[in-house]
Amino acid sequence: MFAYILRRLLYAIPILIGVNLLTFALFFVVNTPDDMARLQLGAKHVTPDAIERWKVEHGYDKPLLLNAQATGSAQFTDTIFFQHSVAMFAFEFGKGDDGRNIGNEIRNRMGPSLAIALPVFVIGLLVNITFALLMVFFRSTYLDLWGVVLCVVLMSISGLFYIIAGQYFIAKLWNLLPISGFSGGIDGIRFILLPVLVGVVAGIGSGARWYRTIFLEEIGKDYVRTARAKGLSEVRVLFRHVLKNGMIPILTGAVVVLPLLFMGSLITESFFGIPGLGSYTIDAIQAQDFAVVRAMVFLGSFLYIVGLILTDISYSWVDPRVRLQ
């Protein structure tokens, strides 16, 4: 087990290097720092001096890969690649265009992101499983058919609609909850309720439908027939046997997104004014702050790989037949 995890961790390194090289190529080779400067400073009235100054300010005035003017190891370290890409492995993200330290921002903003994403995830999972089980319980009746149709309708509605409609009706028209904002502590709950509600509702369509097919696949298996043959009631079969075995694909599918919850949701956070990582990213994209976007790409990939490893571990944990070696 331990050796397996260690090997997976080692395997993660080349992937992170790949991500790093890809982002380096995208951000520095395909379009040069000169282009970035021009985009930031406005395309028309820009002098070479201004571009130079912008590059020095952001530390982009060095050669890309090899600094011929330096000596010794500085030939490699005094370059954009080393200072901006390799440094990420130590989680040194540098500064954004607003001059703040990106690493600090990330640490401060993880909390609010998690405050929304975690409840959405947990409540969403419970609600979706409940709906899926209900549909499976009433399978091949009209209740099941219309449940599936309802799911398809729900998943055909744009996620933006849920947010906008939720804000308009619940917050603006009926004044039940604040429209947006965030505060820490127990007082912050009223700010969290609406985004969580919207997030859960928006996920029901695809979630419940997906879990329904998993449970249906499970219910056709031999052990379920055996259980029924023993004379167990349908409720008991569903909750004791089908639910437990159906949870294997559901849980392992959920584990991979668990670490990514830290990243928050771009759209929800920006609509509800939550100072999390999602709104940080969206602001960076809109302000074309390349340093922050690059940092978020690296962080996202890192968390995804953590998720992959956790998935493998959870497989062997929930299903003893799976052995890791």
Binding site: V19, F27, R38, L39, L160, I164, I267, V297, G300, S301
Partner: protein, 468 residues
């Protein structure tokens, strides 16, 4: 008036895609074993109804893909000059919808502007809602508006019904002649749903769409059916123009995805060894980068290079079009991994089967084994992925446009409509029609696509078998 045809990049690709689909249809029609699952799709009322709705969207999108530029009236005949505005056949068909521009917001079917202004009345200036330039301009007084609208709806419904009855009669005449049935027999078979194809659903959906279409056309002749936006443009026109953008993103992205996913997925599963390792490495790397961020990064870069070479594009439409194409490419490159993984798994299974082993023992080349034995057996997966991805891509466009990395801001798209209108709900009084229209159109397209995708999946996925 002479015109200069304009072929944008996406137009060319759309028509290439259309040609490809037609060739595929012709090929499938000749092969009974390929035709069978499609016949099963056609027997499902839900799927066939959705397909009819989709067809309407596709026709509008195709009409909107035939672009041209009008000749300027005062240009010399020897050296004609063309307008910088790129129009489409669709624009020409809906004519006044595009040109009848008001001053600013007006509510759906209104005859007055949504904001008070100083208006001249009986030699005095009063603060009131001014009349619209076009919406309800044929009316003399406000009291005539509601009866006029009701009359238009009734006439529209009646005409739609009449057209549908005519079509139904033609269908009945054709079918009875084809099958040598009496009209009464055919009608009973149709009414009880024993035609062998979902005749009732087809007739019902066609009737509903005809009536809706005629009613909207009737109303649009005198009013702005979905109101006007901030600069006074007809919202119905914007929504209809957005159809093409949605379709382009949903289809061209898949077109980019397919070759990558098919070649790499099958190669990884079939050859295994280092090929598998390399391909798995590539897709894990791509997969591990959050999709939106990768798209955002790539779109920012495309933006930089478009702005660095402004001379390459002679019209704003060409510029917006290149950005749309780039968006499709980028989304395609980021989204092929899911299908590739699926195909890899399936090919791993298939390569151990007896008939593949036999082919290998006979010395059949790898290329031939893959094209004759592996690919046809994973094709259903490819097809299911195409139809399932479509709706997700249409929805993704809205989100990406909101983030600011979607289509060009000058392009008509539901995402841009929502993005531009999201502050309108905070306004007093509320302006809801632009958001409403964008969501309604998007919902109709995505729901139809989802229902059709369900039908296709049920018919093609062997795992589902008879179970539903």
């Amino acid at each position: 008036m002479s015109v200069q045809p304009v072929i944008l990049w996406t137009d060319a690709l759309i028509f290439a895609l259309l040609a490809g689909v037609l060739v595929l249809v012709w090929f499938i029609r000749r092969q009974p074993h390929l035709r069978a699952p499609w016949a099963a799709v056609a027997r499902r009322p839900m799927a066939i109804g959705a397909a009819l709705v989709l067809a309407v969207f596709v026709i509008i999108g195709l009409l909107d893909s035939l672009h041209y530029r009008e000749k300027l009236g005062d240009s010399p005949p020897a050296k004609p000059q063309y307008s910088v505005e790129v129009l489409s056949v669709f624009d020409a068909l809906v004519g006044p919808l595009r040109t009848q521009q008001e001053k600013t917001y007006s509510a759906p079917l209104a005859m007055q502007l949504y904001a008070k202004e100083f208006v001249e009345r009986d030699d005095a200036t009063a603060r009131d809602y001014p009349r619209l330039k076009y919406g309800g301009a044929h009316l003399r007084q406000a009291a005539a508006r509601v009866p006029d609208i009701v009359r238009r709806i009734f006439v529209g419904v009646a005409q739609g019904l009449a057209a549908s009855l005519l079509l139904f009669g033609l269908l009945a005449a054709w079918q009875t002649r084809l099958r040598h049935l009496a009209f009464g027999e055919w009608l009973t078979a149709w009414g009880t749903g024993r035609l062998g194809w979902p005749g009732r659903t087809v007739v019902l959906i066609l009737t509903a769409m005809l009536m809706l279409g005629v009613v909207i056309a009737r109303l649009a002749a005198g009013y702005h059916v979905f109101g006007t936006d901030k600069v006074g443009q007809d919202v119905l026109y914007i929504s209809l123009k957005s159809i093409r953008t949605g379709l382009v993103i949903g289809t061209l992205t898949t077109l980019v995805t397919l070759p990558l996913a098919i070649v790499l997925g099958i190669a990884a599963g079939y050859f295994r060894g280092w090929v598998d390792d390399v391909i798995q490495y590539v897709y894990t790397v791509l997969n591990s980068i959050p999709g939106v961020l990768l798209i955002a990064a790539a779109v920012l870069i495309v933006q930089v290079s478009i702005e660095a070479n402004p001379d390459l594009f002679d019209t704003a439409a060409a510029r917006a079009d290149i950005r749309l194409l780039a968006l499709c490419l980028i989304m395609g490159v980021t989204s092929w991994t899911g299908l590739a993984r699926l195909l890899r798994g399936e090919s791993l299974k298939l390569r151990t089967l007896d008939y593949v082993e036999a082919a290998r023992a006979f010395g059949v080349s790898h290329a031939r084994i893959i094209s004759r034995h592996i690919f046809p057996n994973v094709f259903h997966l490819v097809l299911i992925a195409i139809v399932l991805d479509f709706s997700g891509l249409v929805l993704a466009e809205a989100v990406l446009s909101y983030v600011g990395v979607g289509v060009d801001p000058t392009m008509y798209s539901w995402g841009n409509m929502i993005n531009g209108a999201r502050l309108e709900l905070a306004r007093e009084p509320v302006v809801w029609w632009q958001l409403g229209a964008a969501f309604a159109f998007m919902f109709a397209l995505v729901l139809a696509a989802n229902l059709f995708a369900d039908g296709v999946r049920d018919a093609f996925d062997p795992r589902l078998g008879g179970r539903r």
